[in-house]
């Protein structure tokens, strides 16, 4: 019985979650995991572009980045956000573990806590944004902070700092919202019991995505809020 017939015979009791073109579940899991990691690499380079913008603008306007960050960015809010994301990372990791072990009872609440923490993060972000918009600290030509003299504009470009700030935190916030959406969808699927021990790769991948979003905030927080 050569390899082909063997493959056909095993079709009868095929794992319902095994796609037709994969030989077995392990090959599928490996493929899905590698696909996810390549997707994460792509996300990293996407944010890499933003970090490049930060580094080059900070190189061109070193004192602006120090003064503006000192004056207008509240590191306490940033720290709370960091703790929120780290905790959500923990609960997400526990959720993935629960899915792997088939503990459905724990899965949904853990995912719920992760989503709540993410929304808290966005809430603080909303508060920070509205405070800045109120003060007129907007990117580019909409900057209406304290009058910047012509001479000073050459060396001091607050609008550039706020452009970089809003771009980085904005894109990161967008990814947090996408994460919340994914977790919501996961919870809906989990309540129907589909996220069990032999089909947890979807939970695993959303977990990886979430850890990556947290990873990016781990670098964003010191660069924007702390470096004096």
């Amino acid at each position: 019985m050569n390899a082909n017939e063997g493959g056909a015979a095993a079709n009868a009791d095929r794992n319902p979650y095994l796609a037709h073109h994969f030989l077995d579940k392990f090959q599928q899991d490996d493929a899905v995991k590698m696909g996810m990691w390549l997707f994460l690499v792509q996300e990293l380079l996407f944010f890499g572009g933003l970090f490049m913008a930060y580094i080059s603008m900070r190189f061109l306007y070193p004192e602006t980045f120090l003064q503006e960050a000192l004056a207008h960015l509240d590191w306490r809010l940033g720290a709370i956000n960091t703790v929120a994301l780290l905790t959500s990372s923990l609960t997400m990791a526990l959720a993935v573990r629960a899915a792997q072990q088939g503990k459905q009872k724990q899965l949904v609440p853990l995912l719920g806590v992760t989503a709540v923490l993410a929304l808290a993060f966005m809430g603080i972000k909303y508060f920070e944004y509205s405070h800045k918009i109120h003060d007129g600290l907007m990117p580019g030509i909409y900057y209406a902070g304290e009058a910047v003299g012509a001479v000073e504009a050459v060396h001091h470009a607050p609008q550039i700092f706020f452009s970089v700030y809003f771009m980085m935190t904005g894109v990161h916030g967008l990814h947090v919202l996408i994460g919340v959406g994914l977790i919501g969808y996961l919870m809906w699927r989990a309540t129907k019991g589909e996220m069990n021990e032999n089909n947890y790769s979807f939970v695993d991948n959303v977990g990886l995505y979430w850890h990556l979003v947290d990873l990016i905030w781990i670098f964003l927080f010191p660069l924007l809020y702390l470096v004096k």
Partner: protein
């Protein structure tokens, strides 16, 4: 996770990692609140962030148990980002070098305008007379007396040729070079007993020659 048997990390490990991440956050915030010189603070902040990233990556993202290729892919992305950063920043930082070698246009123009203005100003005055007027309107009068009395700065009376004791104990005689250096870079050599508060007043070469000539006349 891959591999046929699932390695379940014990619950304890998750909380240890979580604790370590919180501690590191407190550390990085604490360091920034204390405030280090700016380049050092960037290095420390990035080092702490990288440690946190490694923690999240190996444990929470299961890289510890994952196939080596995924780890390689994850690290390879940092290599390509590093190339992008390093090459672009070398460009940004070394952009003016060639022009600096030959003195670019603004510098030459500023010097030309400055020397023109200086010629009108000096006009018919002798260097000593010009030195005296500069002593007045350049602000030297505020800190350096003419009658030997100690003010914010040492007195100009009999300064030229006098042996001065420096803050670090070394001794040197006040000659043209010392006067020129003290005007251009006041913080370089501070006389003992005086505070290093003098600022660079943007005095041009010709003005320094006049001031030195004036100081020589103050015996």
């Amino acid at each position: 996770m891959s591999g046929h048997e699932h390695e379940h990390m014990p619950l304890k490990t998750y909380f240890i990692i979580y604790g370590a991440l919180l501690v590191l956050t407190v550390v990085t915030v604490g360091v920034s609140v204390i405030g280090l010189p700016s380049t050092l603070s960037i290095v420390v902040a990035m080092a702490v962030a990288t440690v946190k990233a490694v923690l999240v990556g190996t444990w929470f993202m299961h890289l510890k148990y994952d196939r080596k290729f995924n780890v390689f892919v994850f690290l390879a992305s940092f290599w390509f980002m590093a190339i992008f950063f390093i090459f672009t920043m070398t460009d940004l930082s070394s952009r003016g070098d060639i022009l600096a070698v030959t003195g670019n246009f603004e510098q030459r123009m500023d010097e030309a305008i400055a020397s023109e203005k200086f010629d009108e100003e000096a006009g018919d005055m002798t260097p000593e007379e010009l030195g005296a007027s500069l002593y007045a309107n350049k602000g030297c009068v505020g800190c350096h007396s003419l009658d030997g009395s100690k003010m914010v700065g040492p007195s100009f009376k009999g300064l030229y040729g006098r042996e001065e004791v420096m803050a670090d104990g070394s001794k040197l005689t006040a000659d043209d070079a010392y006067i020129k250096e003290s005007i251009l870079e006041p913080q370089a050599k501070i006389v003992e007993g005086y505070a290093p508060v003098m600022q660079d007043l943007g005095v041009t070469e010709d003005e320094i020659v006049a001031i030195t000539a004036y100081i020589k006349t103050l015996k």
